[in-house]
């Protein structure tokens, strides 16, 4: 019998157990997913919440800023409106009232907690600052009002100083005592008190100085007013002390500096006044003499020598200030009045030549030359009229010079001296003198004609060369030839025989 092999069954069987975790894995995953969703949503919510918070914060800050800005503006307006307060107390009382109203306004209306928080913080700072500023302003008002009182007090003291009841030093000392008392009483701090002491001193001294200058200026004004009227008299009065009471310092002493300055001014003024007076007087006399001469000259030119002599006799200024001139004119007029026949041509030519030379001078004194022409006994009326015409004609300096040279040339060519008498007087002949005069008149006629043509635009400017050329031609037209020379010799011999 075969051996039966027994199969040994194992003692245990190990079936795998189910893992609860593994079995629920999908559920856990679902749960985990839900948690993630929740967590992410929460995170998102928190972020959004944070953003919202920030937004609210900004909004609150803006709102607070707006309210603060408005409050600031109101505070400034309040401070400005209180600047004219009459006292520190009034300023502070009104300021407190105003600031309370501004605070109420700043916190009024729809305001959330966050805004209120910001506003509180900022507003407290603003209030602190504005209180400090208000206190400074109030102090300023206090100081200003006190200073105004001080100025008033200083002016009162100055009045007292003026009337001699107070010396400037006493005034300052009195004020210092007052300020010391105020510092001790706590009304001024030590610095302000010291500053005001100094300012007060300056005030008094400056005021005194100003007052003194004002008084002196008044006195100086008085002296200068008199100086304008009569400097010499004012100068004398100043030196004799007549103005001393007007030129005093506050202490009653005469201000020698100002007095000295005025004396110098017066000295100068009196000399100036004298010179000016003299000039005016001279001018007046000259004008009067010219006037008298003019009347006499008119009569003389007309040949009315009787009237001319009568006018000469009636002259006041000429007689007083130019007696020699009167005598000379009298002789000349008398000679003219007693003259018979024509004027001696030689003398006449000589006079014409002399007058022409005077006229040719660009700087000639027209009145003086005119005078010489009018009262020249060697010139007849025709000569005078022509010479006066040439004198008064408005020749240019260039034409005058060229004409003078031309006349000189004509005199040399036509009317030279042919002999000299022992006494040295040049001797000339009547014929050459007449030729010379005629040549000069011909030159003037030509020149005047050319100048008229130029004035009418019918020719160009007359040149010096043209005048000289004309003079040369005229010297040929009015020659001093042999015939004339012989005639002259005869005439000379005849004169010698006479």
């Amino acid at each position: 019998m075969p051996e039966i092999k027994r199969v040994q069954r194992p003692d245990t069987v190990n079936f795998p157990e189910a893992s609860p975790r593994g079995a629920a894995q999908s559920a856990y995953a679902l749960s985990g997913f839900g948690e993630q969703v929740s967590e992410s949503s929460n995170r998102l919510y928190n972020i959004l919440q944070e953003l919202k918070n920030k937004q609210d914060e900004i909004s609150a800050i803006n709102d607070a800023d707006t309210r603060i800005t408005r409050a600031k503006r109101n505070i400034i307006d309040l401070q400005v409106s209180l600047e004219r307060s009459s006292s520190k107390q009034e300023y502070l009382d009104n300021y407190n009232k105003g600031i309370t109203a501004i605070r109420e306004q700043a916190f009024s209306g729809d305001i959330n907690a966050r805004t209120a928080q910001h506003l509180n913080k900022s507003y407290n700072n603003l209030e602190t600052e504005s209180y400090a500023s208000a206190n400074r302003a109030a102090d300023k008002i206090f100081v200003n009002t006190e200073q105004a009182k001080d100025i008033k007090s200083a002016n009162e003291k100055l009045d007292m100083v003026k009337t001699g009841m107070y010396s400037p030093q006493d005034a300052i000392a009195s004020r210092n005592v007052k300020i010391d008392a105020m510092v001790q009483g706590g009304l001024y701090d030590a610095d302000t008190g010291e500053r005001m002491k100094k300012e007060y001193k300056d005030l008094v001294y400056v005021e005194l100085d100003r007052l003194e200058k004002k008084n002196l200026a008044k006195g100086e004004g008085k002296v200068r007013q008199d100086m304008v009227v009569d400097a010499e008299k004012t100068y004398t009065n100043l030196q004799s002390g007549l103005y001393d009471k007007d030129l005093t310092n506050l202490d009653g002493t005469v201000n020698e500096g100002v007095k000295g300055t005025l004396a110098k001014e017066l000295d100068l003024a009196k000399r100036t006044q004298k010179e000016e007076f003299q000039k005016k007087e001279d001018k007046f006399i000259k004008d009067q003499i010219n006037n008298e001469k003019s009347i006499i000259g008119e009569h003389t030119l007309k040949g009315d020598y009787t009237k001319a002599l009568a006018a000469l006799g009636d002259s006041v200024f000429m007689k007083k200030y130019a007696p020699d001139d009167v005598a000379q004119k009298e002789r000349e007029i008398y000679a003219m009045s007693t003259r018979t026949g024509t004027v001696d041509p030689i003398n006449s030519a000589a006079a014409v030549a002399e007058m022409e030379r005077l006229i040719a001078n660009p700087k000639a004194d027209v009145k003086a030359i005119s005078d010489k022409i009018v009262f020249n006994k060697n010139l007849d009326k025709g000569d005078k009229d022509r010479l006066l015409g040439a004198l008064n004609r408005n020749y240019s300096a260039e034409i005058k010079r060229a004409r003078g040279e031309a006349v000189d040339y004509l005199e040399g060519a036509i009317n030279p001296s042919v002999a000299t008498i022992a006494v040295g007087v040049p001797f000339k002949l009547p014929a050459q003198a007449i030729n010379f005069k005629e040549a000069v008149w011909a030159l003037d006629d030509w020149l005047n004609n050319e100048l008229d043509l130029y004035a009418n635009g019918k020719r160009g400017q007359v040149s010096a060369r043209e005048i000289t050329t004309k003079a040369k031609n005229l010297a040929i037209d009015y020659p001093f030839g042999r015939k004339e020379y012989r005639d002259a010799r005869k005439e000379l011999r005849g004169l010698k025989e006479e």
């Binding site: 069954r9 189910a18 749960s31 839900g34 969703v37 992410s40 949503s41």
Partner: protein, 139 residues
Amino acid sequence: MSGMELAAIFSASGSALSGLGKLQAGFQEEKAMTYNARLATAEGKYEAAASEEKTEQAIGAARATYGASNISTSSGSPLLALSEMAAEGEMERLNILRAAKAKHEMYKFYGKQARIGGYLGMSGSFFQGAANASGQLAK
């Protein structure tokens, strides 16, 4: 509807989902534990049967030995010895069955706890989600 409200709703929904997951997990774990309990019982039975068989084999071997030695096993010491062996074997089998039963009960207990845990987890998540959402929406 604002972003924050949406976020709050999502958060609450997430919590609800998480709660459901936890509930589901409780159920699944219970199932696993039930399975394990049944497995423990089956294993116990198997091991008890094995033990019984083993005891029978030992007794059979002893009888054979006694038989070869012409020792009667129906009386006297051999009988006592065999009876002892049979009694020991039965005791072991019963112990195995008891242990399997205990294991079965333990798994069942765990399964029940897992289910309760699922309920509690779900409730916790729901309440947490509801609280969060209500708090967030209230802001």
